[in-house]
């Protein structure tokens, strides 16, 4: 059985028919067509599929799509404003904070959740914010540096 679900995705109203029990990851990718959200484990352990639900980081692979009705969802696909990159995106680029890129969308959203509520995090707070996101290319240090750069607003300053 399919259920209609309506929510805001990156500021736009969207609606989809979701299989009963479908997770938010599948609905975003298969029904809505937001392919910026990636699945890594489909069991809530790797953080790859992290999106923001009403500003809080959520693992979309274990979030019931129906539970998001009426809520505001943010994904990496909506970070950019036109041609302008989000400061986190610029900082990730300049710090080479992505290798294969597969964990990057989830990593960006976990970092955004942090900066949205704490614009001046310490290194420890950054580490804590991304500790549920696995990067297998082992690039945590550049990622931490990028988030700190973005917070300081100096992502475009470095040579």
């Amino acid at each position: 059985m399919k259920t209609p679900v309506q929510f805001r995705l990156n500021g736009e109203e969207v609606a989809a028919f979701a299989e009963s029990g479908a997770n938010l990851l599948d609905v975003l990718r298969e029904s809505v067509g937001d392919l910026s959200v990636k699945g890594g484990c489909w069991q809530g352990t790797c953080g790859t599929c992290t999106v923001l639900v009403d500003g809080a980081p959520r693992l979309s692979c274990i979030t019931l799509a129906e539970s998001c009705a009426g809520k505001s969802i943010e994904t990496a696909g909506g970070l950019r404003r036109g041609a302008e990159l989000h400061p986190l995106q610029s900082a990730f680029m300049e710090r080479f904070a992505a290798q294969c890129g597969y964990c990057t969308p989830g990593m960006l959203m976990a970092a955004k959740a942090l900066l949205d509520r704490n614009p001046n995090p310490s290194r420890e707070e950054v580490v804590d914010a991304i500790c549920g996101n696995i990067c297998r290319c082992t690039g945590y240090e550049p990622i931490i540096a990028a988030v700190l750069d973005a917070a300081r607003g100096d992502s475009r300053r470095r040579a």
């Binding site: 067509g33 994904t75 990730f92 680029m93 294969c100 890129g101 597969y102 297998r136």
Partner: protein, 537 residues
């Protein structure tokens, strides 16, 4: 102290180092940070079907019967695929280069040889429908005894794992059950050594765990071809393997890859493409075959667990005069790439050290474990772990600084390696000197003056300009060196009697630069393919 050796790679180097020292942006970075890089699963097709696999719950069992009638009638199921449906249901990855026998089925038909081995594939309109149909399949197994330990697998009467290799060892050149290296006379040298250090090193299998699991989508094209979007790390390798298993010409396959969500060696095995293509042929629809995380862990090959024994014969002054290595590569139930790992391991023995007596036996062994494959320097990394642990233990045993112990034994230009090739372009000593300087690690003067050039500023067990001479005392704080029988250092002549002339004093200054190199390439020995036994380049 640091000297750029520009004679190395002289024909390939360009001293206009305009890229060094400034960042150059990667071409795929913008896609990565905006979530627009297209991985294989970011392609969308109408009426996409999903392939899921029923796997063996046993490490070793005979298949008595398979009942898939209920699954075939289940909602959404389009096709059941069994081993008999696979055109060429036996393959080995390196058969593309005529290395090894076909030993692994795409879908098991009579015997399963590891937990997780594919048995039946279901193609359905959704992943969920496919999984629900799998639960309806009944397979009757007769469990068989299994073997999980590499040395147990080599004992007489051990369970035979792999039908193509009944003795549980890969056969090199259809003839040899292991890789063998002999140089000098290790056993005789152990009898002369002051210290014999015999150690065992056991590695664990390691899962690559890329954040994107292995997967592919096969799409029938309108011209009789199939377009395959895949996570493979080895596009043409996968294409040829898929063509072979499907008994179709490779020009009917169009593989599209390139953006891969992490691989580390775990995406070279062509795990998903052949059945995705077969399913697309049988149904006429696009088919996705995507591993779950559980499948990636259980069926996706890990780095194999290696067991390595290393025995060193060491003189009190720190010279290693003999090294014996016995290594077992756990290939799991099938070959995949461990046969090649064993070749690489044998080629790396005894490490970057000049040791005049070396003996090694390296086995690629079949057990009822998940087949192992490539991972980041496989074959060499495990051996290096063992060798460098061994070097630390050896340094302790003779009371030397571990870095100086390595420098004393390091290759110098012109040394004869255990593989009967001359060491060239050596740089371990210089690396150690720079590392020591950066780490403020104290090196004694003799070691600061050492060089990888011919002779290298010290007499060692196997090196030096005059390799027939008995080694002179090394500059180590050792007790009086025990008398040493001169070691055989070159394969083409037997161990010589001790030379009568007194050894010259150790050089007090760095060796002079070598004579001007002849024109032409000076870098690298002619490269040698250990698989083909032929020279490339």
């Amino acid at each position: 102290m640091l000297e750029l050796r520009k004679d190395i790679f002289a024909d390939e180097r360009d001293d206009n180092l305009k890229e060094v020292g400034k960042p150059t942006q990667r071409q795929d970075m913008l896609g990565h940070v905006t979530g627009t890089s297209a991985y294989y699963d970011d392609h969308r097709f109408a009426n996409l079907l999903h392939l899921k696999i029923l796997r063996s719950p046993h490490a070793h069992a005979r298949i008595r019967s398979i009942d898939d009638a209920a699954a075939a009638r289940a909602p959404g199921v389009k096709r059941i695929i069994r081993g008999a449906d696979v055109p060429v249901n036996l393959n080995t990855l390196l058969s593309l280069i005529q290395f090894g026998k076909d030993d692994e089925p795409s879908l098991a038909t009579d015997v399963v040889r590891y937990k997780g081995e594919p048995v039946v594939a279901v193609v359905a309109t959704s992943e969920r429908a496919a999984l629900e149909a799998l639960a309806l399949i009944r397979v009757s197994y007769e469990p068989l005894p299994a073997v999980f330990d590499v040395e147990e697998a080599l004992k007489p009467g051990a369970v035979s794992v792999n039908a193509a290799y009944p003795k549980n060892t890969f056969e090199y050149y259809n003839k040899y059950d292991h890789q063998k290296l002999r140089f000098g006379d290790a056993d005789a040298a152990f009898a002369q050594a002051d210290i014999v250090l015999d150690e065992r090193y056991q590695m664990s299998p390691i899962e690559h765990a890329p954040t994107e699991t292995n997967g592919s989508i096969a799409v029938p094209d309108t011209n009789g071809r199939f377009i395959v979007y895949t996570s493979t790390q080895a596009l043409f390798f996968s294409l040829d393997t898929a063509a072979k298993i499907n008994a179709m010409p490779s020009n009917q396959l169009h593989f599209i890859g390139g953006t891969v969500g992490g691989g580390f060696g775990g995406k070279v095995d062509t795990l998903t493409e052949p059945l995705a293509i077969l399913a697309a042929r049988l149904t006429g629809a696009p088919v996705r075959h995507r591993l779950s995380r559980h499948e990636e862990m259980q069926f996706g090959s890990p780095r194999g667990g290696e067991r390595i024994y290393i025995k060193d014969g060491i003189m009190r002054d720190g010279r290693i005069i003999a090294r014996k290595v016995r290594a077992y590569f756990d290939s799991g139930a099938y070959t995949r790439l461990s046969s090649y790992a064993a070749v690489k391991c044998a080629a790396h023995i005894p490490g970057p050290y000049t040791i005049p007596n070396v003996s090694a036996d390296v086995y690629c062994v079949y057990t009822n474990r998940t087949p192992a494959t490539a991972m980041r320097g496989f074959g060499v990394t495990a051996l290096d772990f063992g060798l460098e642990c061994q070097m630390d233990k050896g340094a302790v045993a003779v009371g030397m600084d571990p870095l100086e112990y390595r420098m004393l034994n390091a290759y110098r230009d012109g040394d004869m390696k255990a593989h009967r090739r001359e060491a060239k372009n050596c740089a371990l000593i210089e690396c150690a000197q720079v590392a020591a300087e950066k780490a403020s690690w104290p090196l004694r003067d003799e070691f600061r003056r050492m060089s990888s050039r011919t002779g290298g500023g010290v007499q060692r067990a196997g090196g030096g300009a005059d390799r027939t001479r008995a080694p002179a005392p090394a500059p180590a704080p050792a007790t009086r060196p025990a008398p040493v029988t001169p070691q055989r250092v070159s394969y083409e002549r037997p161990a010589a009697a001790p030379a009568q002339s007194a050894p010259p004093p150790p050089p007090r200054t760095p060796s002079p630069p070598p004579a001007v190199q002849p024109a032409g390439s000076t870098h690298g020995a002619p490269r040698f393919s250990s698989v083909f036994g032929t020279r490339r380049r």
